[in-house]
Amino acid sequence: MKKKLFEFLTKGIPFGMFLLLLGLQQVHAQNTISGTVVDNESVPIPGANIVVKGTTNGVVSDFDGNFTINASSDDVLVISYIGFTKKEVTVGSQSTIAVQLDPDVEELDAVVVIGYGTAKKSDLTGAISSVSTKSFENQPVTRVEEALQGRAAGVTVAKGGAPGAGYKVRIRGVNSVTGNNDPLVVVDGVFGGDLRTINPNDISSMQVLKDASALAIYGSRGSNGVILVTTKKGAGKAKVSLEHFFTISQLANEISTIGSADFARTKNTNLIAGGAAARYSDNDITALENNPFDYEDMLFQTAIGNNTQLSISGGDNKIRYFVSGNYANQEGTVITTNYERYALRSNISANITDKLKVGFNMYGSRETQVNNPDNFNRFKGSVILKALTWDPTLPVQDESGEYITRSDIANNNFNPIATLKRSNRERAADRFNANIDIGYDITNNLKYQLIVGVGTISQNIESFIREDNPSDANANHTQINFSNAKTTNHQISNILNWNKSFNKHNFDVTAVYEFQGSRVLTNGYNTAGTSTLNFYTSDNEDISREDFFNRGSNSAIKSYLGRVQYNLDNSLYLTGSLRVDESSRFSKENRTGYFPSAALAYSFNKLKFIEDSNVLSNLKFRAGWGQVGNENINATARFDRTSPNGRTVFDGENVLIGLVDSQEGNPDLTWETTTQVNVGLDAGFFSGKLTASIDYFHKTTEDLLLRTVLPGTTINQFQNVGEVVNKGVDFSLSGSIIENDNLTWDATFTLSHLDNEVTKLTEGREQILGSINSIDGTSNPLNVIKVGEPLGSFFGGTYMGTWKEGETFPEGVQAGDAKHLVDEEGNNVLGVIGNGLPTLTWGLNTTVTYKNWLLNAFVNAASGFDVYNQLAGAINGGTGDYRDDLSPLNAGQWTPQNQTERPRRGAPNNLLSSRYIEDGSFIRLSNLKLGYSFEDLISGVNTLQLYVSGQNLFLITDYSGYDPEVSSTPVNSNNNNVDAGVGIDKGAYPNPRTIALGVKIDF
């Protein structure tokens, strides 16, 4: 650090002296000055603006970067060019001036997008985390969500292991039980982006709006936080950038289960003890010993992935362009799973006149996902859970090649390998977005911007899932689904901005009028029990087994927004805003929501103690308050509905379909409202080489949009019920530790603490049982929403070890069985036994470069949460469809000789037990990359970097399953959202360990 300071001083002082000397010149003659504008690599910049400061006297550099201008010696020339830092040069005695412009690497840091406008970072009053390309360019990411993980304090990202699976992004905890907790994604001013489909390479920056003062301008859709994505614009000389990486992924760790031969021996022993004959002969056992069937090995594979990026960008003062293409193909580590994405973007902007700017962005993508295990029958666990609990003495196919789909022992469901191998479920989604951005400067201070966006998403699912054999009697487990969903969106935003300074008073006023509409149409076809071999030939002759459906919904929002930003002498900052939303999701009387916010910030930078300090270079205090809403529920939530699912037959042949009431309307339904207070402090040290930021927040979400089941019925009703509080601290620290010609080392550390609590439910209700059901075939819930507990707590009995010999057993219990806390009547006492929401998450991203070498490491961690390991429960057997104990021998089970707290082999098992609650805390090396850049290796190639990287290389955790970070998606997510069941592992797709090899070339 000392060295760096020295370096700063040695470089800074002469420059200051130079300026001082220039300032002393007092010559007033008008001369013709000639000069050249070049970039940092001495390449001439054509089209740069050279203006005499304070005048309209300006010229543009020619193709070779040359210019001539009339100026007097005390004039200051302002040289600017898009993408480069503006430079001011005092003419002085010079007659020729060579100007070198530095690329504006700080551009994104200095100016942040705040929604309906931009602001200098130093002017911010709200809590905003910025993630620039720079922070993730060292990790080969195929997904934008990966770029957010651990890099923005307060943002948690939970990956799904399946290729192309949705990642769960949460900002400052979770508020809603039924409504979706996904943050709003706004891409270049247009609502409703999907991070999954965006090419990470297209992103120039992302801002995460976290506190209500920043969010309130998004009103009814801001309560889950907003991620503003700004895509790249070209600048300067044409630049071609090509990157390709190749990945190899594998299962990171294995779960041990009993081997085939041991299983057969144990089964024989139990049968003989029960008075039955042995099932396996000695020959059978020897054969199994020599050729065991390892269903885990059969399920997982080494997966290959390829990702290619190409972008061409450039521009001058008239036209800027950025055109890119991306192809990603990722096999899953579970056999037959795959994800493929094509993405094309074209961003073009033009300065038509001095006052009129037009931008046109187009984005198209196609995603294809094959055999996502979440779409297979998971009522009694995923294919992963089934594989680990399936009869290990049977092969997948018999000698004649016929698939063996069932066994009368171990798992009572269909053979998962046979299912995957014969199934093909393809989800293809085509997305097309186009938006026009017109900016017109009405006066120097008054600007008008119009954003018009249209988007279409067409999703098509073709699913052929075969579990049984068509030759079986009543073969009914070949399910065919075909569906199309088309979503069309449109948005029109009118933004008027007035910006003026009066002495020390700076005003920035924004007014917005905006409306958006969305229409979703789905239709589809289902049939079951067909004997054909594939999707297209499956149109069943038997129309009584065919189903068709057509559904749709419309929704719309109309909004008005006003925002005033004021600052006094760049020291005191005040922001106030009000957004008014009218939403079609609510009836006329309850449709209009008002979302106000107020914030202040005070910068101490002009105070003497900072100006004089060698250490502290920036100190700013921020405080804000505001309200935001959530309307993330079905477009039809307020209406009465019926569903055509009463099926019966009167004549034994013809199915009749009757209507039953399925939803009771609620005209009183309105927004869920989150009120948030945020207090923060930003500090910079050593001239900004080290920056720190800390925020405390307290969010109260009231009138939760809850999909309730009316008591005593199965009729749903959406209600505004209950209250959830999230409070916590976000901290980030970022700095350049070493910076010299050969060696640089910088690091960013983010940390978030979160405390979530449900504080109120319906009058008189202490808890609502969750809708994530046990896999044991009963409808008992695994989760509960309870007052005083975090959202989505685990529900079950309290495990008290084993019954020991000599104790007085209840009826039907023997020594070595599991013991649970019971009430006076002998029933298990069920209650909250854990929670899956981490209270602490952190990330450390650090990069070291030495000459041409680059090393990047990214570690992320979470602690203070549990995982409900249903997979471990299923392996122990003894309940529901898990008929045999497949846990490894000698895993410390109770025996009469060694009376441990782990129940005896084959003991009756209860999956709803704290026995299966495990600490989920982990530290993960998410990324480690080593790269080498060649310079001037090939002429015309600016840089060529080769790199190797590994993801998920190690994981430190006590969790016994595959991965504590993944949780199973609820089978039925209609009633509670995924956050009400976070941390429940019913055989979730684990995060793979991945090695990537890549090459990056810039021309």
Partner: protein
């Protein structure tokens, strides 16, 4: 100057263009905040036509089918001494009933509870919404019949739950009171009686245009269920023995009008369980299924559900050993059990197999679990035996009472039921107890025995006998109490969770 003009013109054009765009986009909001709720959905409301009412009633039947197609619908009957299940496998919920150790968290109990109240709620919704229909000048006879049907189904649903739980809530409004409490058994029975009486008065002698066996109920169906209700009313727990007279009278009414209702006995008991006879006149209320129409409307209780692993069966419904051994030899035993199977040497679990469940040999497709077999929710044979038993218990025995009992005895021995046979017929003795004993054998495996044991307080006697050591011992030993304190199943924990007033 010219150049400037041009620039000015260009500028003006731009301004005109921009202004045009402004005015279009600013002032014409193109969103609709009031979407048409009927564009995509048919919301419920007051029925506008008989067709709407018809559609809604099919909805109630749909809920009945969805519940009754599963063995779960009858899971409490595993408590009887006639039915048992696999000792392990995934049958824990059934074992809880079998072993008299039913937890309030029992999943089948909850599923049944929800199923029953779905039917009740939908029925209530129809009754409320159809109020306006009467004035619409639509076919009053049809409306009356449809409304009668709704009352019948609601009564049936209440009765189905009351037999299991005793005290149940009695929601009678479209949306139930969320804080509704349990009603006393007397109130529950009075409500069921009221519903069946309402049905009786509205339903025709024969429902037009349906298959034999009252696939949709007729007057006789309502009367038959009333007679069954009165038998329970006269027994445990209310023991209002005056109801035996009502039971006898209602049963007699059915017998006297059996011609009009198209009810009668099947000649050969064995034929009753054949797929080809799924619509027959012996059933006084039939639930119909389609085996080839997919999961939603298939009967999922029979065939491999009744077979052990030895036949790739699904090990759900087995016959109790002791009951089988005590079963009088003869045609009825042959019609009840698959005596062709050597059950004593099964590897999986040694229990006899019900022919009533697994199907007569070769009748159901082998390995099938979805069948088109009908459920005979109540048989005319039961009406006859109720008449015999109730006339005995009410002290009003007539020759017709004996004839009713003897018809069943004759058929059980493989004889024509209408032809008196001195070798089989009896005309002396305690007819009530003889009829009660006759029910035991006649309805074995038909999910009725447990409720007979409850109403006559014979649980301890029967289940102690069940567990006496025999040639092969029972797999699932009794764990819980056999006293009257354990006759009724607890209210499902989840239902209490949703509404704590259901706790007591």
């Amino acid at each position: 100057m010219k150049k400037h003009m041009k620039i000015f013109k260009e500028k003006r054009n731009t301004i005109v263009l921009v202004s045009a765009v402004f005015s279009i986009l600013i002032f014409n909001s193109c969103v609709n905040l009031d979407p048409d709720p009927v564009e995509f959905d048919l919301p419920p409301g007051t029925y506008g036509s008989v067709g709407d009412l018809d559609n809604a009633i099919i909805g109630v039947y749909g809920q009945l089918t969805n519940a009754a197609k599963w063995t779960t619908f009858h899971a409490p009957s595993w408590a009887g001494d006639d039915i048992t299940t696999h000792r392990e496998s995934n049958k824990a919920d059934f074992r809880e009933f079998d072993q008299r150790n039913v937890a309030s968290a029992n999943g089948r109990l909850l599923n049944n509870w929800d199923a029953v109240f779905n039917i009740v709620n939908t029925a209530n919704s129809i009754l409320e919404r159809s109020e306006g229909l009467v004035d619409l000048g639509v076919d009053p006879e049809k409306v009356n019949r449809l409304i009668g049907e709704v009352y019948f189904l609601r009564g049936l649903a209440f009765f189905h739950a009351a037999r299991v739980h005793g005290k149940i809530p009695l929601p009678l409004t479209r949306l139930p009171d969320p804080n509704i409490g349990l009603s006393e058994v007397s109130e529950v029975f009075a409500q069921i009686e009221a519903d069946f009486l309402e049905a009786e008065s509205r339903l025709p002698d024969v429902y037009p245009g349906v298959m034999p066996g009252a696939v949709r109920p007729n007057k006789g169906s309502a009367q038959s269920l009333l007679s069954r209700l009165y038998m329970h009313w006269a027994g445990f727990p209310l023991k209002d023995t005056s109801k035996y007279t009502d039971a006898a009278n209602k049963a007699k009414e059915v017998i006297d009008n059996s011609g009009a209702y198209s009810f009668g006995l099947m000649d050969d008991l064995e034929d009753l369980w054949k797929l080809e006879n799924r619509f027959n006149n012996e059933s006084v209320f039939t639930m119909s299924y389609c085996g080839d129409c997919g999961f939603a409307t298939a009967n999922l209780k029979n065939s491999i559900l009744g077979l052990p692993g030895d036949f790739d069966g699904w090990q759900e419904t087995f016959a109790e050993v002791r009951f089988f051994e005590d079963f009088p030899e003869g045609a009825r035993k042959e019609a009840t059990y698959r005596t062709d199977l050597d059950w004593e040497n099964f590897v999986d679990q040694k229990n006899p197999v019900f022919k009533k469940v697994a199907g007569p040999e070769g009748d159901l497709p082998s390995g099938a679990f979805m069948t088109g077999r009908s459920d005979f929710y109540m048989r005319y044979a039961e009406v006859l035996l109720i008449y015999a038993e109730a006339s005995g218990r009410s002290g009003n025995v007539t020759p017709e009472s004996w004839e009713a009992l003897n018809k069943i005895r004759r058929r059980a021995s493989g004889l024509p039921y209408d032809t008196p046979d001195a070798g089989v017929d009896i005309t002396t003795g305690d007819i009530a107890e003889l009829a009660f004993e006759e029910r035991k054998w006649e309805f074995a495996g038909e999910y009725l025995r447990w409720f007979d044991l409850v109403r006559m307080e014979r649980v301890e006697e029967a289940l102690t006998r069940r567990d006496e050591p025999g040639i092969i011992n029972e797999s699932n030993a009794i764990i819980g109490s056999l006293g009257t304190d354990n006759y009724f199943s607890p209210i499902p924990a989840a239902a209490i969770e949703a509404n704590p007033n259901l706790a007591n």
